[in-house]
C-alpha cells in the first residue's frame, strides 16, 4: 500500500514536449511510472518518448484513461493548465512549475476544488511511491521501499530526509513535496490523514519551514487525529524576519510564522521535533527501534 499513487497509476504530462517536461518524463518512465501520454497544444497526433501527444487534456483522458497529470508548463500558463486538467476528469494534478503568480494559483485551486481534483504544489518536487511510481523531479534512487511516510515543503530536504531514513535501514512508503508557495494544494493535514489510514505506513516525517501557519494547523490535527508517531523538522530557526528565504511563502511577517512557534506547537502535540535536519534519520530510528 501507499498513498495517492502506485504502480497502476496512469499519468499524462502537460508541457510534455518542452525541455523540462521531456527530460523529467523520460526519468519517470525509466523509474517505471506509467506515463501514458502528454499534452502540448498544436502537437496532437505526434508521438514523443514513444507515447501519444494530444492537443487537449480531455482527449488525453478519454484515450488513455489517465487520472493524474504532471504539469511542467511555464509559470504564466500554469493556472490555465491546472484548470483544464480539473474540468477534464483528472483526479490529481502534480504542479512542478516554479514562479506561478499567487493570484493565478488562487483561481486555479478554487477551480480544482470545485471539480473535485486534488493538487500538489506548485513549485514542488512532486510525489513518489518508492519503487513503484515517481511523478516529479526527485532522484528516484534514494527512495527505498519501507514504512515511513514523508511530507515536505522543500525539495532538497525531502531528499535529505528520505536519504537519512533509508541509510538507517528503513524506507519510504510515499513521499510528497507539497511546495513552499503561499497557496498550495494538498497540505500536511490531508496527507497526514492519508498516511494514518495507510496500513503500510508506520511513522511519518514532516518537514516544514517558516511562513504561514500550515504547520500549526497540522499540530492541532495530529493531536486530535493521528495515532502514528511523527518526526518533524522546521527549517528557518536562524532566518531573519521580513526576508523571503528562497521560497515565495517562506517569510516571517512581523512576529508570525516563526520556526519556534511551529516547533512549540508540534512538540505540544506530541511530535518528536528535531532542531537540525541532520537528526531526522536518528529520530526515526529511535521511534521505530
Amino acid at each position: 500500500m501507499s498513498i495517492l499513487v502506485n504502480k497502476d497509476t496512469k499519468v499524462i504530462v502537460q508541457g510534455f514536449t518542452g525541455k523540462e517536461g521531456s527530460f523529467h518524463a523520460e526519468q519517470c518512465l525509466a523509474y517505471g511510472t506509467q506515463i501514458v501520454g502528454g499534452v502540448t497544444p498544436n502537437k496532437g497526433g505526434q508521438e514523443h518518448l514513444g507515447k501519444p501527444v494530444f492537443n487537449t487534456v480531455a482527449e488525453a483522458v478519454v484515450t488513455t484513461g489517465a487520472t493524474v497529470s504532471m504539469i511542467f508548463v511555464p509559470p504564466a500558463f500554469v493556472a490555465d493548465a491546472v484548470m483544464e486538467a480539473a474540468v477534464s476528469g483528472i483526479e490529481l494534478a502534480v504542479i512542478i512549475t516554479e514562479g506561478a503568480p499567487v493570484r493565478d494559483m488562487q483561481k486555479a485551486k478554487a477551480c480544482a476544488t470545485k471539480n473535485g481534483m486534488m493538487t500538489i504544489g506548485p513549485n514542488c518536487p512532486g510525489v513518489i511511491t518508492a519503487e513503484e511510481c515517481k511523478i516529479g523531479i526527485m532522484p528516484g534512487a534514494i527512495f527505498k521501499k519501507g514504512n515511513v511516510g514523508l511530507i515536505s515543503k522543500s525539495g532538497t530536504l525531502t531528499y535529505e530526509g528520505a536519504n537519512q531514513v533509508c541509510n538507517e535501514g528503513y524506507g519510504i512508503t510515499t513521499a510528497v513535496g507539497i511546495g513552499g508557495d503561499p497557496i498550495i494544494g494538498l497540505s500536511y493535514k490531508q496527507l497526514l490523514q492519508m498516511f494514518e489510514e495507510d496500513p503500510e505506513t508506520e511513522a511519518i516525517v514532516m518537514i516544514g519551514e517558516i511562513g504561514g501557519d500550515l504547520e500549526i494547523q497540522a499540530a492541532t490535527y495530529i493531536e486530535e487525529n493521528i495515532s502514528k508517531p511523527v518526526v518533524a523538522f522546521i527549517a528557518g530557526q536562524t532566518a531573519p524576519a521580513g526576508k523571503r528565504m528562497g521560497h515565495a511563502g517562506a517569510i516571517i511577517s512581523g512576529s508570525a510564522g516563526t520556526a519556534k512557534e511551529k516547533m512549540d506547537a508540534l512538540e505540544a502535540a506530541g511530535v518528536k521535533v528535531v532542531v537540525s535536519p541532520a537528526e531526522i534519520g536518528k529520530a526515526v530510528k529511535e521511534i521505530l527501534g
Binding site: Q106, T156, Q237, A259
Partner: protein
C-alpha cells in the same frame, strides 16, 4: 517588490482612492517649488524610503512656510533614517514627498493582504489608526476587523457593511464614502497583483472625507512580468546590491551576521544548513540557494559573493545532488576555486547521485584548504571547527 509611498499614491489616485495632493522632490529647492505649487499654508515633508516608522525616526515633518519646507527638506534629504524596520544601519533618504496638510479628526487603519489559510484576500481595518498594527493585534485584538473577500465573487455590499459597522461609522454619507474607498483599494489590490496594501493612517477630515494619508504597497514578484508599469517603479537603491547581483545569476542570497558562509542547493536545505550550523555552535554568514542546477559558473559566483563579506572565516558547501550529478558539482567546485581566490577553509559535503565518485574527484584535486564532510552533521561540525580555527 515594494514601492515608495508617493508611487503607491499615484496608483491610489488612478483608482479614485482619495489622497492629499503631493509632489515628489529630489532637492530642497524643488521641495520649496512644490510647496508653492500645492498652495495652502501647511505642508508635510516626508522622507521616501521602503520602511515604516518614518515619523518616529524623524523623517516626516510639518512646515508652516515655504522657507521651512526648504529647511526641512535640506535636513531630511541625505540623512540616514533609522526606524524599527530599517535595521540599525538605516536607509539613506534620496527623495522627499511634499504634501498638503490635512485637517484630521480621526485616524483609522486599512490593509489588504492574502490570507494564506483562507486562500483569499482579506481586508483588515481598525479604529486604531496611526499605531503599529502588530501592537494593536497583540494588545487589543478585538479592535481589528477582518473581512475575507472571495475573488470569484468580488467585493459585495455586505463586505462594505461589515466594514463600516465594524468601524462604528453611523453617518450614511460617511458609510458610502468608506465603502467606495475600501472597494477601490480591493480592486487595485487585485488588478495589480499586489501582495499587500497598508494605509496607516487612513484619515477622516473635518469635512467627513476619508483619505489615505500614508500608503504602502508590495507586489507578487512572480506576477511583475504582466505589470511593466509597476516594474518601472522599482527603486534599485532600496535593494541590497549583493542580493541583486546574486539574483542575476539565478542565486538567492541573503546576508546574515555570522562567520560561516553557506552555499546550498534548495531553499529548505539552505535554511536547514544554517540551523545546523547554529545548533553546532557556529553562526551562519548568509543564506545562499544556488538553485536546482548548480554548475561551475554559479558555484564560482556563489564563492565570489560569500567572500565579499569580510566576516566569513569558513565556507560550507552543502549539496544534495538529485537530478544534478555530484561528480559534475565536484568538478564545478574545483573550477570555481581556480576562478575565484578562495582564501578560507571550504568544507564540502556532496550527497546523492554519484556521491562516491565526487568524493574521489575532490580528494584527487589536492586543494589545500578543501575539507570533505561525510554528511550534513559532519560537514557542519567541520565548518564550525574550521571557523574557530581548530
Amino acid at each position: 517588490m515594494n514601492i515608495h509611498e508617493y508611487q503607491a499614491k499615484q496608483i491610489f489616485a488612478k483608482y479614485g482612492v482619495p489622497t492629499p495632493k503631493g509632489i515628489i522632490a529630489n532637492t530642497p529647492n524643488q521641495a520649496a517649488t512644490n510647496a508653492a505649487e500645492l498652495g495652502g499654508d501647511v505642508w508635510v515633508v516626508k522622507a521616501q524610503i521602503h520602511a515604516g516608522g518614518r515619523g518616529l525616526g524623524g523623517g516626516v515633518k510639518l512646515a508652516k512656510s515655504i522657507d521651512e519646507v526648504r529647511e526641512l527638506a535640506t535636513e531630511i534629504l541625505g540623512m540616514t533614517l533609522v526606524t524599527h524596520q530599517t535595521g540599525p544601519e538605516g536607509k539613506l533618504v534620496q527623495k522627499v514627498y511634499i504634501e498638503e496638510g490635512a485637517d484630521i479628526v480621526d485616524e483609522l487603519y486599512l490593509s489588504v493582504v492574502l490570507d494564506r489559510a483562507a486562500e483569499m484576500p482579506i481586508i483588515m481595518a481598525s479604529t486604531e489608526g496611526g499605531m503599529d498594527i502588530e501592537t494593536v493585534a497583540e494588545e487589543t485584538p478585538e479592535k481589528i476587523i477582518k473581512i475575507a473577500v472571495d475573488p470569484a465573487f468580488g467585493f459585495q455590499g455586505f463586505h462594505g457593511r461589515a466594514l463600516v459597522f465594524g468601524l462604528g461609522i453611523t453617518d450614511k454619507k460617511e458609510q458610502a464614502k468608506m465603502i467606495r474607498f475600501a472597494k477601490a483599494v480591493y480592486t487595485l489590490y487585485m488588478d495589480n497583483d499586489a501582495e499587500m496594501i497598508e494605509i496607516n493612517p487612513l484619515i477622516k477630515t473635518v469635512y467627513g472625507d476619508f483619505m489615505a494619508l500614508d500608503g504602502k504597497m508590495g507586489f507578487d514578484d512572480s506576477a511583475l512580468g504582466r505589470h511593466p508599469e509597476i516594474e518601472d517603479m522599482r527603486d534599485i537603491s532600496e535593494e541590497d546590491p549583493d542580493e541583486r547581483d546574486a539574483s542575476r545569476y539565478g542565486l538567492s542570497y541573503i546576508a546574515l551576521d555570522g562567520e560561516i558562509g553557506c552555499m546550498v542547493n534548495g531553499a529548505g536545505l539552505a535554511m536547514g544548513t544554517m540551523d545546523t550550523i547554529n545548533y553546532m555552535g557556529g553562526t551562519p554568514a548568509n543564506f545562499l540557494d544556488v538553485g536546482g542546477s548548480a554548475n561551475a559558473e554559479t558555484v564560482a559566483k556563489g564563492f565570489e559573493i560569500i567572500l565579499k563579506n569580510p566576516n566569513v572565516k569558513a565556507i560550507f558547501v552543502n549539496i544534495f545532488g538529485g537530478i544534478v550529478r555530484c561528480d559534475r558539482i565536484a568538478n564545478g567546485i574545483i573550477e570555481a576555486t581556480k576562478i575565484t581566490d578562495v582564501n578560507v577553509p571550504v568544507i564540502v559535503r556532496l550527497d546523492g547521485t554519484n556521491a562516491p565518485e565526487a568524493a574521489e574527484i575532490l580528494k584527487n584535486a589536492n586543494i589545500s584548504n578543501l575539507i570533505v564532510g561525510d554528511d550534513l552533521g559532519d560537514g557542519a561540525a567541520k565548518a564550525v571547527a574550521a571557523a574557530k580555527g581548530v
